[in-house]
Amino acid sequence: MQRWKYVLTEVLTGLWRNVTMTVAMIITMAVSLTMLGASLLLYLQVNDMRDFYYDKIEVSIFLKADITQDQRSTLQNDLQNDALVQSVIYESKEQAYQRFTTQFRDAPDLVAATKPDSLPESFRVKLKDPKKVQALSDEFRSRDGISEIVDQQELLKKVFAILGALQNLALTVAAVQGIAALLLVANTIQVAAYSKRREVAVMKLVGASNWFIQMPFVLEAVFAGLIGAILAFVTLVLAKIFIIDGSLKPLTTLLTPVAWETVWLQLPILAGASAVVAAVTAWVTLRFYVRV
């Protein structure tokens, strides 16, 4: 009890004595952890979206303009009976044109330049297993009357590639800031150990245990790490409120919503990660560099 009280007062006076350094350490930690949290959210989100989109994914089989009635009905029949296929929808030229005009209603020039019969008719095929597109494509590519088989997955892959790049960017910033935070922790510990060198020398002389000598320094780093984690968490919450549910709101049809549970999950993860990393850094600094 007595000793814990001593350790606690040591931690608080230690952080206060070197308050500019403490603030710098907490800010870099917070930035690094925010980025770590953001990339983690993005990672979970991408998985979520993948499931969501794979559910809706379709393969478009565009038909040649000179296809005969016969060829079209056998094709439709074969598709409907194919083991890979879940459902088939036929889209006529008129339907395709209608969809086109609504999709591009913001570009009237483009719509005006497109004739109603210049868009191909197609089958929209939904697969039982969205990953088996290649098999379907191999099966039907050489059939008469088919001009092109378009896999929407290719498009999705590009979207996910962009999200993946964003995630990598966030992770890189997290890593760079993380290294800066570690160096600041090491430096703070060295300064703290220097300003308490007399006490440390006496403690070693009279036989205070190593953990007792090192604990205040380690806890100083852990304490700063926890504050950094809380700040990072608050930033993520604000990002959820003002960006994801705010300015990105119109995109909810495109992006799956970020659940509050996922955001809350970040608090223990960030706090745990930063506490452990800060403690290990502090301890290593003490053990091998300062030799307390």
Binding site: R3, V202, V206, S209, N210
Partner: protein, 226 residues
């Protein structure tokens, strides 16, 4: 109590060893002076006994424990059985005499209650009764060294090591500190003192071990500085 067995200590980058094949034994309750010129290696003995340095060769045994092979996590509890005073006192300047002594108890896990009982007692013993709440800068050199002795003795160690404890003090004050160490020795504490203060050695007439260039050149009961 203390035994150095063919101990050689060569510091890294040093051309010759600080201690060269030294063998010496000290019994419980003895009072021993290690004397010799500066750089003769006498301070290295204190460092070896505290396990601040490890011998290059040979064995150091303190309180029946082999210090040479001691695991590092055992050192703190080992040091609790040894008190130590230095030439420069090593007091904490922002703490009073009382707090300096109490600090030594608190950091090894003794309660404030124990400190309240024991600290005034030991400060009285070293002759600082009534000056408990003075800061080091408000005390004379001799009084500061008394605080240091109180801190070293407050745990009732079996051994008291003193590294030139009178080096910063005038002759009269030195004699007073020696009387204090003598009184502590009479309680059964083994006292090992490193010094080159010939005056004191001659007055005390205790065992003298003289070291020169890392070797023992004299070991004499009731010796003089020579």
């Amino acid at each position: 109590m203390i035994r150095l067995d063919h101990v050689t200590k060569t510091y890294p980058k040093a051309s010759r060893p600080s201690l060269d094949d030294v063998t010496v034994g000290i019994e419980k309750g003895e009072f021993v002076f290690f004397i010799g010129p500066s750089g003769s290696g006498k301070s290295t003995i204190i460092k070896l006994l505290l396990h601040e340095v490890t011998p290059t060769k040979g064995k150091v045994v303190v309180n029946a424990k082999d210090v040479t092979t001691m695991r590092s996590w055992r050192i703190p509890s080992f040091r609790r059985s040894i008190g130590c005073v230095f030439q420069d006192f090593r007091l904490l300047p922002n703490r009073t005499a009382y707090e300096n002594v109490a600090f030594a108890l608190e950091v090894i896990g003794k309660s404030k209650g124990v400190a309240r009982r024991v600290v005034p007692e030991v400060l009285e013993l070293v002759g600082l009764g009534g000056k408990e709440h003075r800061y080091p800068h408000e005390l004379s050199g001799g009084e500061q060294q008394r605080v240091a002795v109180a801190r070293a003795f407050v745990n009732r160690p079996l051994i008291l090591l003193a590294d030139e404890p009178t080096g910063n003090l005038d002759p009269d004050t030195s004699i007073e500190i020696m009387r204090l160490l003598d009184r502590i020795n009479r309680t059964g504490t083994t006292v090992v003192m490193v010094t080159h203060d010939s005056n004191i050695v001659n007055q005390m007439r205790r065992r003298v071990v003289e070291i020169e260039s890392g070797r023992i050149v004299r070991d004499q009961a009731r010796g003089v500085y020579g």
